[in-house]
Subunit: 439 residues, 2 copies
């Protein structure tokens, strides 16, 4: 006999066992339903793309992490590393067949060969939603609303969405004469929550003057209220502008929809990435601040500039589903119990297997999920199987019950003594038993 | 300005636009619900695996089609080309954490760099369901039932599942002294529906005697009834056996569950693949016989022999979702219309945007999916947008309606003149309008 192959998976990759997969599907379904309720529509794109498409904009860090190879036809191809770049390519390719504004969501796997750490995987799920084709405060607000609503739909109430505006930050830097270092400043400020103020100050002092570093720290420090913060950053940026007006409008929309308490204006939120031009935001779980932002994004000027001359301004956000799933587990958030099998028809007599399948078919017709234990074994073994699978009710039918046209029902959780009912009444009796059991 | 990158996708790969993606999600959800109703549970595995895992069993044809490369760590890796091999690896890795029999389904993408033809893609969806850990007629029957039920759930009534038994075929070949050529014979017989009887006869005569070829053709010819066919193949294979007994039991289960008319015993069904040992089956759409089998499978002795010494007999089937989706389109099968956005709040006045979002939030609370048009534009443009997106109802609120605490509702399909209702009654009025519109 040849030697066995070790059934291992690649580092940073995972199998999903049924309970985990159900959990993941449940989270995805909840999010998809939320997005749909705001008029977002689903799309999908290939896992594999021309490398030129994916890395056209290439930032050095990402490039190194991309799974890239030459295919059978010698094409330079790569696995997508996010859902934004394929979406840009998608919009450039299909904008004529679509309509604007286009509101899409996409929940799918992406791959990055980065170092695996706690909660970091090389294969992971992204969940993106964007509104493309308009640059309006209403669209900005809708993305904020969807973020807020998504977390509530998942049962997470204690969440804070921190937002800011890249345009105001840039005007401020120009105002204090530090516009030339803005990309570096943004990246340094982005580290505030992790590195702390003093560390950020010394990093800043390496790229701007001592005085400018102080002004920047004053700028990014939030005031006690949204209004006070907005007033301060507007003033430090040289006065009111369309950008401060937009943040002010967003505030009024929050108030009109009763969401004012859910958002914090925090000028230290910058998002490292170059392409944001308007509002930017991050989302933190109040009870797990250390895991970092679980949903981030912002407004960008032009989504698909690499592939089309059409201007496609947009606003969107991305949820890191793996981090969020881990958080839901850690927070022990009660989620609706996955349905699973409700009834098992146990196998007492091989000569009755056709009858068992007929019983199961009737129960399914009535909307119950139901399986037949596939062979005669000791009842104890069959009970163990049902228990492992979390099946609450067993249908027992031996030759005696079969002769009397009855079945016995057993609550497999309480292991109550069984109750014999006419076959015709089995569905009602099972429903009644389920209600008692759930109560 | 730098030159643009062509936003193309790789040959054999596809984007899914919203309507297509909704259709696909609908089919997947219907199948998943069907599988769950029989007690099957979902799993997922990585897209990328060690090549050794995927090709351990390597048939030459598949090997050449696999997307294989060396990753950042110099590991020899490949994209999965089916869901069976990863499932075998999964069972070997996790059998201790699971329970037997284990009934899983897995709906996911797989990749094969094969020649692209009509309806053939390099990235495509597979849908597999298997029962592992038992070798019983009850488990065989359950897979057959799930197949039958799946097609009905998708709205396809005119479907024929053809089944046969590899064990009986092999005994027959041994009986006529052709056991040595059995693999070749099976592969030739597998071509019957495409190549025709005479072509199969001449191919057979290249590997077995003229007389044996005749006997094989007699064996694979179905008789008018399941019983007659079963009697014949049993007799030609040297008499009754455990295998003929199993086909007979399956027949009685079909009768007891009212499914006898849905299955055909057809000894010409062999399935080319080596690993089947018991029943095998293929599924044909009566109205589209040319597209070939849309769901096939069978019983195998041992799923994970490459990775574990544990014996894991199983039975399962695989649906080719892309072919099936194309068939549903061609057959114009009426499927439940995807929900989509139900209501759009039109934007008449930028100063009312917060109010619009508050209206939309109330409608969503009542379970309606609703979006806000994100800026003030001509109503005609907003109507066009709603039409493109298939949104049936528009909510109109200008300063006058706002002052009167009302909204006007418009049926965007009939373009009926609008109806002004108090804001507090909007939800009921929308529901009534939807019912009239659907009627």
């Amino acid at each position: 006999m040849s030697s066995l192959i070790d059934p291992r998976v690649l580092k940073g990759f995972r199998d999903f066992l049924p309970d985990q997969e159900r959990e993941r599907q449940g989270i995805e379904a909840t999010l998809a339903k939320t997005f749909e309720s705001y008029g977002f529509v689903p799309i999908d794109t290939p896992v594999l793309e021309y490398t030129e498409i994916l890395l056209g904009k290439g930032g050095g860090e990402t490039d190194k992490q991309v799974y890239r190879f030459s295919d059978h036809g010698g094409r330079d191809v790569a696995l997508r590393f996010d859902l934004t770049v394929p979406f840009a390519r998608f919009m450039a390719a299909h904008v004529q067949e679509l309509y604007l504004p286009f509101k899409r969501y996409h929940i799918a796997k992406v791959w990055r060969g980065e170092n695996t750490q706690r909660g970091r995987y090389r294969e992971f799920m992204q969940c993106d939603f964007d509104i493309v084709g308009v640059d309006t405060p209403s669209a900005d607000f809708e993305i904020l609303q969807v973020m807020e609503r998504s977390f509530r739909a998942l049962g997470i109430e204690r969440v804070t969405i921190r937002l800011s505006h890249r345009g105001i930050f840039n005007r401020f830097l120009a105002h204090i004469g530090s516009a030339g270092s803005s990309a570096e400043v943004l990246r340094i400020v982005d580290k505030l929550s992790k590195a702390g103020e003093e560390s950020v100050r010394s990093m800043l002092e390496e790229v701007v003057s001592h005085e400018a570093a102080g002004e920047i720290l004053a700028f990014i420090h939030p005031e006690p209220s949204y209004e006070a913060t907005l007033e301060k950053i507007g003033r430090l940026a040289g006065g009111a502008s369309e950008d401060t007006e937009r943040l002010s409008l967003l505030r009024s929309y929050m108030q009109e929809t009763g969401l004012a308490g859910r958002f914090l204006l925090d000028p230290s939120i910058t998002r490292g990435l170059d392409y944001y031009t308007g509002i930017v935001y991050e989302t933190f779980l109040d009870d797990l601040p250390d895991i970092g932002s679980v949903c981030s994004g912002g407004r960008y000027n032009n989504l698909a500039t690499l592939y089309t001359k059409l201007e496609l301004p947009g606003v969107g956000a991305s949820i890191g589903l793996d981090r969020l799933t881990a958080a839901l587990e850690e927070l022990k958030i009660q989620r609706a119990e996955p349905a699973g099998t409700e009834v098992i028809v146990l196998c007492l007599d091989d000569s009755l297997i056709g009858h068992y399948h007929a019983i199961a078919a009737r129960l399914r017709e009535a909307g119950l999920s139901c399986e037949v234990y596939p062979q005669k074994r000791k009842l104890a073994s069959q009970f163990t199987y049902a228990e492992r699978k979390g099946i609450p009710i067993g249908v027992i039918c031996g030759t005696e019950e079969h002769g009397r046209e009855t079945v016995s029902l057993k609550d497999l959780r309480s292991r109550d003594s069984s109750e014999e009912v006419p076959l015709a009444r089995a569905i009602d009796a099972i429903r009644a038993m389920r209600q008692r059991s759930d109560a």
